[in-house]
Symmetry: C2
Subunit: 427 residues, 2 copies
């Protein structure tokens, strides 16, 4: 029987879940793995506020540095969040010979590379299954299950808040603001939802996934994050007419020439795509790889217990192979793939123009598209009586983004156009 | 750099895929893991028939025992299939100090327990990711990602052939025979499809999954395998009216009292269930667990390259931790949970009667259901002019299977019943 000491720093929602599992399932884990995982410390500035789960026997400390001095602590679980204090904490752990398990996507996306380097130098592991889609074991699927496979692309619904909002818009015709309020009421959105609806949260996650999938360090600053703020219900409804559902996708692709595309975009997904059926607060990640071809992984993206389950899986993993800890590094970088600028990506597009209904409109617009080498796939022109301006909807075949932008710039100047065309990418 | 010698026994479809990956991706695997995985031998009785992938540098032998003598061989890949010769082969490997990777579901489902014991005694590992849904890393998800979680139930579409047939019946109104012929023509069904359509293949897979999920040895003989032979297109269409799609599900459940339910049944799945959207030859496994709650894993169930990818992932896993091989055993048994008999299971049901349309029919049938404590959820009685007998469709709330059987026995005897009611379980 191998005894593994664990310390938890950050006694919040996820922390409570971790304590719950470690306390309730110690015996189950022991039987399954032969490992006696013992929660030795819980560290938090606030030790008095009651939490969902009470600590049974671990020592409560307010300064995490106490934990680092104890040689019985093998793994520190970082659940404080943020990229400032958490960064210091993780560095201190690694310098003190402690393995780290973290759910901190922002930290790894923005400052991951030096931390992984530090871990490697010290022969230690960083477990981060919980940092991306807590309820989906996507990190180990990429690093372990696909160890001999080549991933071509990842398309993920990795943010539960935005997926909840978009589901309500699509299924119940709620406008964005109403759907957001409902999500907040039900606890699926924060009081300040900026990071979720602005796409930043999803961008953190796809930065991490792209890095491990393509064995390259992706600079978070190079990842384009477009959120769903300002999505018009009209476009959600129009998309349905074309046979699509609007999802916020986190996308990572690797071209054969060794350039990568990493971005977060509101995207139209055909109804027969597996991602189209991922509803409400659920997450899913669709992977296309050379040998496995298409596989998809579906589950809860967040929540105390699912995320805690991922943390515990990492603890078990590190504990099992603690004598070979340098081998458990999940982030191995040997490529230096440049990230494509948005202008260089290629996609199919949906465009909504608002045009004055006069002869020659379609001919002029399609002429400009043709000039930029953009080929039109379908057109719906709606007739409306109460308004002189009518929506003109188009979908295109695959085109270069910078050409689309240039075409929209030019079309916008035409006198029958009321405003700039609304552009949404199609998967 | 750690050098790992691998020998492959069985140069067939999957074998070709394994050779392809090991030959083409040796460098990728080396960079990712620091392991130099070298294919040293390919053993097969037939060394002359050309295959999809040619062997580059491995030694070709017709007798696998030659492989066992070579101390450089660390892992033997068993891809011969069947439960006779393959069993001897795996035993010989383990006795000769070789780790084993296998895609052989029949062998593990029917004779797994003694093989895992033998592996443990010799400090060796058996990797079997490829034995269940090659394109879905479901084994490591259960054993690793859910290491600290309690699985309550598994519902899987684990047979591509039957899922293809049922998809065609549902979407194109083909009858069973026509859909089967189409599947055979496209290579999704064998010339002798018995093992697939009879449910045996799915039963092998769920036997393995239940064993690792509940840490109990499930006797294959105790697993009820009902296939899709004889499924009437009428029931597929009727199910659609009720909002269901018919799927062949492999089901494993663990009751809190420590009894397990392990079976393969044609099952009606509500359209908003994630499994309902798994179409054609694809597979998926839905897991309900205490902490992760619902998660689903989707991909190809079979095929040369997906299955080979799973084999290679196991090779990498064993190679990575070869100095701790006893820790990589994926089947740890410490429970002895009895398997429920089919009479004891509980389910919701769909029933189709063929009744002479006379007053009092519904009252008599519902009276008998009531007597057996079965409560009716919905009724559709169709009117047809060309026939005196009409279909009477019912769905029930959850009931005990033995009560349903007894009720159908009794209803069958009523003079307005043309034949025994057709019974299909609802998820």
């Amino acid at each position: 029987m191998s005894r593994i000491g664990v310390a938890l720093v950050g006694y919040g929602t996820i922390g409570s879940g971790v304590i719950e599992i470690l306390q309730n399932e110690q015996e189950l884990i022991r039987k399954r793995t032969g490992l006696d995982i013992e929660l030795l410390y819980v560290a938090d500035k606030d030790l008095t506020t009651p939490r969902r789960v009470a600590v049974k026997s671990a020592k409560m400390v307010s300064d995490y540095r106490e934990v680092l001095k104890d040689p019985d602590v093998n793994i520190v679980i970082e659940l404080v969040g943020g990229v400032g204090f958490a960064n210091t904490l993780v560095e201190d752990c690694l310098k003190s010979g402690k393995n780290v398990v973290t759910a901190n996507k922002a930290l790894l996306a923005e400052k991951g590379a030096p931390l992984f380097r530090l871990a490697k130098e010290n022969g230690l592991a960083i477990g981060f299954e919980a940092s991306v889609c807590g309820g989906i074991p996507i990190i180990r699927i990429i690093t372990d299950a696909l160890a001999g496979d080549r991933i071509h692309s990842i398309h993920g619904i990795v943010n539960g808040t935005t997926n909840y909002i978009l589901t309500k818009m699509y299924e119940e015709n709620l406008d964005f603001d109403t759907a957001l309020k409902q999500a907040q009421k039900l606890g699926f959105a924060e009081a300040d939802p900026t990071l979720d609806i602005g796409g930043g949260d999803a961008a953190h996650k796809i930065t991490i996934l792209a890095g491990i999938a393509f064995n390259t360090a992706v600079g978070y600053a190079q990842v384009s994050a477009e959120g769903i703020t300002g999505i018009d219900l009209a476009d959600v409804k129009n998309a349905r007419e074309f046979g699509y559902v609007l999802k916020l996708l986190a996308i990572a692709k690797c071209d054969p020439d060794g350039t990568v595309e990493v971005r977060v975009s509101p995207t139209l997904v055909p109804l027969d795509n597996q991602l189209a059926n991922v509803r409400n607060e659920f997450n899913a990640v669709l992977i296309n790889s050379e040998y496995l071809t298409n596989s998809m992984y579906f589950g809860r993206g967040a929540g105390s217990r699912p995320t805690a389950s991922a943390v515990v899986a990492d603890i078990v993993d590190i504990a099992k192979f603690k004598d070979a800890a340098h081998r458990t590094s999940k982030f191995i970088q040997f490529n230096e793939f440049p990230v494509k600028s948005m202008g260089e990506i290629e996609s199919r597009y949906y465009v909504r123009f608002n045009v004055f209904d006069q002869p020659g409109v379609l001919s002029k617009i399609s002429g400009i598209f043709g000039k930029y080498n953009i080929s039109i796939a379908s057109v719906i022109q709606e007739e409306r009586s109460e308004n002189d301006y009518v929506p003109l909807l188009m979908t295109t075949h695959s085109a270069k983004e910078k050409n689309m932008i240039a075409a929209l710039d030019e079309i916008q100047k035409l006198d029958f156009c009321r405003q700039r065309g609304v552009l949404i990418r199609i998967i």
